[in-house]
């Protein structure tokens, strides 16, 4: 473990050690207080906090990304190396693997905060809980959804997908993975504190994700069949907008129930 460099103690530190409450409160009172507890500040706080924690445990991040890469790579090895079959299989496999990778990291989304007391502080903070939850979902997507989107074109090559199909799959993942994070957050909050929470979470979330999977993977199929993928994208985007508005509220409500 690398230690950050130490600097000299600030001036006067020695003199306040163990008798500083009076001085400290005086300092604290001169520091500013947020007058408005804004939504943007809350989202930013939660997202940076979670990203900072994730960056300190990079091995966990790497495991999730590696899991996605391996699941996608297993299919060409197990199925027959028939080019037409693989091309038909590819978009669906990329989508199912994205769903599983998202599911792998979901149990930790709130459970760690729940266990160490951070969630209590989040719920009793003056900022709106929905916004703080929203920030956590943003961080979850940046850690698990974005790598999936970025890797998709590369991994799709194993299936001999044409460039236009690859582009559509990647784009559909870009719209669809935030939706998976948003839906998953509701499930993660609902299963907080439940025994066998992570398996329950899978049972709860996978059926909810079926429409996302159908329209997401369907976009590439439409292109392969020479049709327009825009209806699929419209439906995915509509789902994303609804989830963006609804999911943070539902998640916040579930967290309040779990803490109660």
């Amino acid at each position: 473990m690398k230690q950050p460099p130490r600097s000299l103690p600030p001036k006067g530190v020695e003199s306040v050690a163990w008798d500083g409450p009076a001085r400290l409160t005086a300092i604290a009172q001169t520091e500013g207080e947020e007058a408005q507890f804004g939504v943007a500040t809350a989202i930013l706080w939660a997202a940076t906090h979670d990203l900072r924690v994730a960056m300190r445990s990079r091995s966990e991040l790497a495991v999730q990304i590696l899991f996605y890469v391996i699941v996608v790579s297993l299919f060409p090895l197990a199925a027959s190396p028939d080019r037409a079959l693989l091309a038909a299989l590819g978009p669906g496999v990329l989508w199912v693997a994205a769903l599983l990778a998202s599911l792998l990291s979901l149990p930790r989304l709130f459970a760690a905060d729940f266990a160490d007391g951070t969630l209590e502080q989040i719920a009793s903070s003056p900022y709106p809980l929905q916004a703080l939850v929203g920030g956590k979902i943003v961080a979850h997507w940046l850690c698990t959804g974005l790598p999936v989107v970025v890797l998709a074109p590369l991994l799709g090559l194993q299936y001999g997908l044409d460039s236009d199909v690859l582009a559509v799959v990647t784009l559909s993942l870009l719209v669809g993975t935030p939706l998976l994070s948003l839906l998953g957050a509701i499930g993660a909050a609902l299963t907080l504190g439940a025994r066998g929470g992570s398996s329950l979470l899978a049972l709860l979330i996978l059926p909810l994700c079926v429409p996302v999977l159908i329209f997401g993977a369907g976009a590439a199929d439409a292109v392969r069949a020479g049709l327009s993928a825009s209806p699929n994208f419209s439906l995915l985007a509509a789902g994303l907008l609804i989830a963006l508005v609804g999911a943070p509220f539902a998640t916040a409500a579930a967290i309040r129930v779990a803490l109660d």
Binding site: M1, Q3, P4, P5, R6, P9, P10, G12, V13, E14, V16, A17, W18, D19, G20, P21, A22, R23, L24, T25, I27, A28, Q29, E31, G32, E33, E34, F37, W45, H49, R52, V53, R56, S57, A115, D116, G117, T118, E120, Q121, I122, A123, S124, S125, P126, Y127, P128, L132, R256, L259, D260
Partner: protein, 183 residues
């Protein structure tokens, strides 16, 4: 029950008598089954943000992230409570609770008592009208206990309210303390 400015309420009672539940209701974490909470004479909705902006809640769990350094944890927790705290104030607060040496270390190396002290440093940096302390003396040594007593006494002199659930007596002036025994 009623708490006035500049007074502390010590909630006592056997295990399971509802001390923590009372504090969690005031912090907006638990919904009361009966009764209501009023602030400045007005009834407030449980968990209303107006109330949350007045309170600081220190629970059983210290809310520290093992991955982050002590300094980052403290900065992050005060920011979550809505306070802009300068780096100097963070450093002074940590020095004040005798954690200056450990400020750059990840929180996972701290002992239970040291974790508690980070919570107290946070409290000192958040001079809100109401402090809700759930067993604040747990795992603290004599010096820490004395520090906590001074901090609470100072807050009471400044017109704050402190509601603490505790088994141990806090070292605060007895003329400012009321006691509520839960049964």
């Amino acid at each position: 029950m009623r708490v006035e400015r500049g007074r502390a309420l010590l909630v006592t009672g056997r295990n399971g008598s509802g001390k923590t539940t009372l504090l969690r209701i005031l912090a907006g974490l638990t919904l009361p089954e009966a009764g209501r909470v009023t602030w400045d004479g007005e009834a407030i909705r449980p968990g209303a943000s107006t109330m949350r902006a007045q309170c600081v809640f220190v629970g059983h769990a210290p809310a520290l992230k093992d991955e982050l350094t002590v300094e980052e944890n403290l900065r992050s927790l005060t920011a979550l409570a809505g306070a802009h705290v300068s780096d100097d104030a963070i450093a002074t607060a940590l020095a004040s609770v005798d954690l200056h040496e450990q400020r750059g270390l990840p929180a996972r190396v701290l002992s239970q008592g040291q974790r508690r002290r980070v919570g107290l440093a946070r409290l000192a940096l958040l001079p809100r009208p109401v402090w809700l302390l759930d067993e604040p003396a747990t795992a603290l040594d004599a010096a820490g206990l004395a520090w906590l007593g001074k901090l609470v006494a100072q807050r009471l002199r400044d017109g704050g309210m402190v509601i603490a659930a505790t088994h141990q007596s806090l070292e605060i002036p007895s003329d400012r303390v009321d006691t509520l025994a839960m049964t």
